[in-house]
Point group: C2
Chain length 318, copies 2
Amino acid sequence: MRIVVLAGGIGGARFLRGLKEAAPEADITVIGNTGDDIHLFGLKVCPDLDTVMYTLGGGINEEQGWGRAEETFHVKAELAAYGVGPEWFGLGDRDFATHIVRTQMLGAGYPLSAVTEALCERWQPGVRLIPMSDDRVETHVAVDVDGERKAVHFQEYWVKLRASVEAHAVVPVGADRAKPAPGVLEAIAGADVIVFPPSNPVVSVGTILAVPGIREAIANAGVPVVGLSPIVGDAPVRGMADKVLAAVGVDSTAAAVAQHYGSGLLDGWLVDTVDAGSVRVVEDAGIRCRAVPLMMTDLAATTAMARAALELASEVRA
Amino acid sequence: MRIVVLAGGIGGARFLRGLKEAAPEADITVIGNTGDDIHLFGLKVCPDLDTVMYTLGGGINEEQGWGRAEETFHVKAELAAYGVGPEWFGLGDRDFATHIVRTQMLGAGYPLSAVTEALCERWQPGVRLIPMSDDRVETHVAVDVDGERKAVHFQEYWVKLRASVEAHAVVPVGADRAKPAPGVLEAIAGADVIVFPPSNPVVSVGTILAVPGIREAIANAGVPVVGLSPIVGDAPVRGMADKVLAAVGVDSTAAAVAQHYGSGLLDGWLVDTVDAGSVRVVEDAGIRCRAVPLMMTDLAATTAMARAALELASEVRA
């Protein structure tokens, strides 16, 4: 079975661990969001790709969900001593090495997809990880600062401002001119099932879908497309997805997110059991819906979620 | 008193600590060797400039003489895990930050001299540190590998090969087209005394003198030029200076090094007391010579050496 997953960071990465358990024989291709990539200290940092790679490769800081295990922060402390920031972005020493290798390879002319493949040679994530695009896409968020509207990098909004101010708009800058990375459209066309994990529907999955050609390829793949709600009981399971959902005019409910993707894209949708009441609303919108536990509390729970998603895909196919 | 010092790495840096003690009111300008600069992991590394900066700024690993105190090596270990080397060059995590800041500033268009000044803002070395040139100069060493002669970067010869093979030639590649960095010729022209510390006469002081204009400026400055022998009792005090001296046809003796600089450049020369027998030879070559203890065992000994150098300069002037 060939499964394609559109993944953001922590939520997507954790779901993938369950999916690998649920379908150990499957050939899994992960199309990773690069809209939250950022250039820091002259280095190219790809938080979502790295979170997937570290999580599946056994290098992740389990508690925090991002960054490396057993991490130290000497480089960062020294950069701060030189007056070089930003200090709000937590780059650890071990993590720095990844960005140094990536930046060096990009500088030598390799596209991000080739660099990601090379980094995964070490981590052996057990999936094929492809960035959504080799072209630069940078998600910006429109916020009001001291009474003036300005666009800040997604990381500044998310990490520095902790999404504490209203997001008036979320724009994946450059997405309209970006091309899917080599292998992305081929993987979608060859998939048996396509999964949207409980990643952020706006700044993770939404950014991937904003790359021209990807949404169309998924809609026309002719295979089940199933998703898992990142909203449970009208609130994001983790993160601050409600803030960016509001920016695109979508309510923070499991049903509203399904309708946001729409029946033209989505065939099946899993909501949490606490949202069982919204199953009807989603099905009325033309999307097959089931209510199952959606809290990724441990690997067993996550594996059950992945299994439920694959079962829903089978149902949809039948 | 305005003192100009041509410095390499460890020997030059340690001597400068003594000089600052011996002449606390002096205005000291250090012209630093950049011939052993190397690009590693996409970063610009300037070992000699950093050794001077860390030593005078209180950040040096005292025991080893280079690199940062309380250093960790997580970035390097991770790079090795990615299969990215070289592993023979010891870059620590704290040290990495310096190279990241430097590389970022160079990438933003600042010349190395401006970058060095910015880095020194943090370290406050108490001297003005200027690279010999903003242009790229890279010292290569001709060696025989598996029966074939090839040129290797100085760091490869020195650190990886530990100078264990014969050096057939030492070439400061690019020096002939390099221009002295802003401030270098002005500092020399305005100096009251010019000092060659016990740095390597070939790959440290020699490389600086290879930048067109610097040797001439020193010879024509009309002020005392005094040096301290890095050779004591026919062997280098530290390092492997004898190996590269042989490559340029100079014996490893205090007298031979003085003659190598020559009376056209050098007015005074200090040899160690164990080499008192060579004072006559050096003086016969037209260079005022004194024998004093030249082992930099501690700050007091180093300060006495610096004081002796300044006294010799006074003698020469009179």
